[in-house]
C-alpha cells in the first residue's frame, strides 16, 4: 500500500520508499518528515484526483500521485 492509497482520515506509518525513487527525492522527503517509521495521516483527499493533503507532525503537505505513490506505508 502506498501513501496515495491512504483515504481521508486514515493514518499509517511510512515503511519504505519504492526502489525507483530518485535518491534526491528520498532525502528531501525524509527531511520534510516522510521517513520510515513516521506516522502520516491523510487529512484531505480532494475529488478529481487533485493532490492530497498529508499531515506530518505539525505540518501539512500536499503531494500528488506521482510522488505519494512512491512512498510505501503500512
Amino acid at each position: 500500500m502506498t501513501l496515495w492509497d491512504l483515504t481521508q482520515g486514515a493514518s499509517a506509518k511510512v515503511s519504505s520508499f519504492k526502489s525507483n525513487i530518485q535518491s534526491g527525492y528520498r532525502t528531501r522527503l525524509s527531511e520534510l518528515g516522510f521517513h520510515p517509521g513516521e506516522h502520516i495521516s491523510c487529512v484531505l483527499s480532494p475529488s478529481l484526483g487533485a493532490p492530497k493533503l498529508y499531515r506530518v507532525n505539525n505540518t501539512v503537505y500536499s503531494l500528488d500521485d506521482s510522488i505519494a505513490s512512491l512512498i510505501e506505508v503500512a
Binding site: Y25, R28, E31, L44, G49, L53, N58, S62, L63, S66
Partner: protein, 615 residues
C-alpha cells in the same frame, strides 16, 4: 557608518520560516540587491534599522542545503560561496519554532556548514507569538546549551525579541562546534534523528494550528465550495487588475498629459517639440501606465500568498495544468497575463521550479492581454455585423471576441503541452510536494513595500529598454520628412519593403506599417492605422476607422488573419524587456519573439486561405 565597514549578517532559512518578514522588519525600506561578484541569485541587502553597524543579507529560502533542483543548487552555492570568500561575518538561521523538528534538520545542516567554514552562527526561533497564543513553550536556553550556539526566541510578526538580536549577534563570536550525540545511524538519517531528539527535548509539545487549518482546507479544497470560492477569488483578482488599477492608470495618463501641457509650450517648435511630445511624453506614458497594474497585482498576489490561499489555489489547479506541462502555481501568472503580460511575468516568481517557470513564461504572452482589446474591437467592428441571435442573447461580435480570447488560451496551453513533451529535461522535474502554510492575516507593510519595489524594478530596469526602442521607432517614423507623412517616413518605406510579406494575407503596406509600429505596444496598431487612413484620434472613435477599413475593400479573410496574428504574435517591447530582466538574458525573449512571429504568420496565412476558400 558606511555599509562597507558594517558587519555582514546572513539570514538563511526554509520557505515559510518567516525569514523574509524578519529581514523586512530588521531593515525597513533600506533595501537593495547585494552585488556579489559571481553570485547569480538576487540577495537582498539592507542596513539594520536599530544598529547601523549591521548589514543584513537575505539569502533565497531553501528547504535543505542538499539541493535537488537547479534553482536550489544556485541558491545553496550562493550561500557557500559567500562563506568561502569570507563575505559574511555571522549566519542567522531562521527556524519556525512551531515546527521545530523540521527547522532543526535544516539548522543542523547550516551548523555543519558554518563549522566547516569557521563562521559563527545563531538560531532565530521565529513565531514564538503563535506558541504564546496556544499557551505552549519551548526551551531556547536548553537548545542553546545542547547546540552550543545562541538561540533567540523571536517573532518577526510582532517584533518580539528583535531588540535582543544585535546582542545575540555579538555573543555569537566563535564558530560552532560539530554537533555530536550518542545516536548511531546512517549519514542520510542522522540529521533527522538528531533533530527529532532535540525537538523532543526542547521543543513545544502538543497540537498546533492544525484543527482550524484542516477546517478551512475542507472548505477551500471542497469539490463545490472550493471550486466556487476559487472562482470568486480569481474573479476578484482579475477585477482588481482591471478595475482598481484603472482610475490610477487614468490619473497617471492625465498627470503625464498635464506635465506635457506645461513643458511642451516652453520648447521651441520643431523636432525638439515633436520628440518631447511623441517619444518622451508618449513613450514614458505608454510604459508608466502599467505601473498601477503591477502594483495592484503584486499586492493582491502577495496577499493571497501571505494568507496561505495561494498554496491551496495551486493544489486546485495542479492536476489540469500538469497535463499541459505546467504546475498549479502557473495559474495566477497566466490569469494575470489576461490583463497584462508584464505583471503576469513578475507573478511567475511564485513558481519555484525553474523549468515550470520557464514554461509559464512561454504561456503568458499568448494569454489574451488587454492591449489586444483595441485591435480586436476594431477588426471585429469592421467585419462582424452587430446583429444578435437567439432573441438577443447571442451577439455575433461578442462571440467573435470570446472565440479570439479562447484561441489565445488554447494556443498557450498547446505550446506548453508540446514544448514540455519535446524534451526529457522538461518532463522530469521536482515532484509536487507543497507545504500548506497556516492561514493567517497578511502583514500589510512588507506587502506594500514589495509591490513598491517591484514597480521600482520595472521603471528603472525595463523602462530603459522600453524607452530606447520607443526612441528608435519614433526616429524611423519621423524622418526623413520631419513627421509630415508617416507613409513617406523610413518606417513607411520599411512597410512598403515588407508589403510582399503581408500580401499573401491580403494586407497592403499600411497594415504592414501598423504591424511594425505595434511592436511598441499592440494598441499602437489602431493609432497608426488611423494615421494611415488620415483619422486623428482613432483610438477614441472606432466606428469611423472600422468603416474606413470596411470601405477599403479588405477581405474578410484578412480581418480574420489579423485577429489570429495579433492573438499569437509577441509584439510588445515591454514584455520582452521584462522577460529579459527576469531571465537574466535576451535568449528567451528573442526566441519567443521569433518563434511566435513565425507561428502567428503561418496561422494567419492558413486562416486567410481557409476563410477565402469558403467566402
Amino acid at each position: 557608518m558606511p555599509i562597507a565597514s558594517a558587519a555582514k549578517i546572513a539570514l538563511i532559512g526554509s520557505p515559510n520560516s518567516g525569514k523574509s518578514l524578519l529581514f523586512n522588519r530588521l531593515t525597513g525600506l533600506n533595501q537593495k540587491v547585494a552585488n556579489f561578484p559571481g553570485i547569480t541569485v538576487d540577495i537582498a541587502s539592507g542596513q539594520s534599522l536599530d544598529d547601523s553597524s549591521i548589514q543584513y543579507l537575505d539569502f533565497p529560502g531553501v528547504y535543505s542545503l542538499q539541493a535537488i533542483s537547479g534553482e536550489e543548487k544556485v541558491a545553496v552555492e550562493a550561500f557557500t560561496q559567500a562563506l568561502e570568500e569570507n563575505l559574511l561575518d555571522t549566519v542567522i538561521c531562521v527556524v519556525d519554532s512551531t515546527r521545530l523538528e523540521k527547522g532543526l534538520i535544516f539548522a543542523l545542516q547550516v551548523l555543519e556548514t558554518c563549522h566547516n567554514y569557521n563562521k559563527p552562527m545563531l538560531i532565530a526561533a521565529n513565531m514564538v507569538d503563535v506558541l504564546d497564543q496556544h499557551s505552549m513553550q519551548f526551551d531556547p536556553q536548553g537548545l542553546a546549551e545542547t547546540l552550543k550556539i545562541p538561540v533567540l526566541p523571536i517573532s518577526a510578526r510582532t517584533g518580539l525579541g528583535l531588540s535582543e538580536l544585535p546582542g545575540a549577534i555579538a555573543t555569537a563570536n566563535v564558530p560552532p562546534q560539530k554537533f555530536e550525540s550518542d545516536i548511531i545511524a546512517s549519514d542520510e538519517s542522522i540529521n533527522h534523528l538528531h533533530a527529532q531528539q532535540l525537538a523532543e527535548q526542547h521543543g513545544p509539545k502538543g497540537d498546533l494550528l492544525i484543527n482550524t487549518q484542516t477546517r478551512l482546507d475542507s472548505f477551500f479544497l471542497h469539490s463545490w465550495f472550493g471550486g466556487l470560492s476559487f472562482f470568486v477569488i480569481m474573479y476578484l483578482l482579475f477585477q482588481s487588475i482591471f478595475s482598481w488599477a484603472a482610475p490610477v492608470m487614468d490619473a497617471v495618463e492625465a498627470g503625464i498629459g498635464w506635465l506635457a501641457s506645461i513643458v511642451l509650450p516652453v520648447i521651441p517648435v520643431g523636432v525638439a517639440t515633436d520628440f518631447a511630445s511623441d517619444a518622451i511624453f508618449g513613450g514614458i506614458g505608454a510604459f508608466l501606465v502599467f505601473v498601477p497594474q503591477i502594483f495592484v497585482l503584486t499586492l493582491v498576489v502577495g496577499m493571497l500568498e501571505d494568507s496561505g490561499y495561494l498554496a491551496r489555489a495551486a493544489v486546485i489547479c495542479h492536476k489540469p495544468l500538469r497535463f499541459f506541462g505546467l504546475t498549479g502555481k502557473s495559474f495566477i501568472p497566466m490569469l494575470s497575463g489576461v490583463a497584462c503580460a508584464i505583471p503576469g511575468i513578475y507573478a511567475a516568481r511564485t513558481v519555484e521550479s525553474t523549468r515550470k517557470r520557464w514554461l509559464t513564461y512561454l504561456a503568458i504572452p499568448l494569454m489574451p492581454c488587454s492591449a489586444r482589446l483595441p485591435v480586436y474591437t476594431l477588426i471585429i467592428a469592421a467585419f462582424i455585423p452587430a446583429n444578435k441571435a437567439l432573441g438577443g442573447l447571442l451577439g455575433w461580435q461578442g462571440l467573435a471576441m470570446f472565440s479570439i480570447y479562447l484561441l489565445g488560451i488554447v494556443c498557450a496551453l498547446l505550446v506548453t503541452a508540446i514544448v514540455s513533451r519535446s524534451s526529457a529535461e522538461l518532463r522530469t522535474d521536482l515532484p509536487f510536494v507543497l507545504e500548506m502554510p497556516p492561514y493567517r492575516l497578511p502583514s500589510w507593510k512588507p506587502l506594500v513595500r514589495n509591490a513598491w519595489n517591484r514597480c521600482k524594478h520595472f521603471v528603472t530596469k525595463a523602462g530603459k529598454v522600453i524607452f530606447m526602442v520607443t526612441v528608435i521607432i519614433w526616429i524611423l517614423g519621423y524622418f526623413p520628412n520631419y513627421g509630415e507623412s508617416l507613409g513617406d517616413s523610413w518606417l513607411g518605406t520599411m512597410g512598403q519593403w515588407i508589403e510582399p510579406v503581408f500580401e499573401p494575407i491580403g494586407l497592403d503596406w499600411r497594415y504592414g506599417v501598423a504591424i511594425l509600429s505595434s511592436f511598441l505596444a499592440r494598441e499602437v496598431f489602431v493609432g497608426t492605422l488611423g494615421t494611415m487612413f488620415g483619422i486623428e484620434g482613432a483610438q477614441e472613435d472606432f466606428s469611423s476607422l472600422a468603416q474606413q477599413i470596411q470601405d477599403s475593400g479588405l477581405p474578410l479573410g484578412s480581418g480574420a488573419a489579423l485577429l489570429v496574428f495579433f492573438a499569437i504574435a509577441l509584439q510588445c517591447v515591454s514584455t520582452l524587456a521584462v522577460l529579459q530582466r527576469e531571465t537574466g538574458s535576451w535568449r528567451l525573449p528573442v526566441q519567443l519573439f521569433i518563434s511566435y512571429s513565425i507561428f502567428a504568420y503561418i496561422a494567419a496565412l492558413s486562416v486567410f486561405n481557409l476563410v477565402e476558400l469558403f467566402t
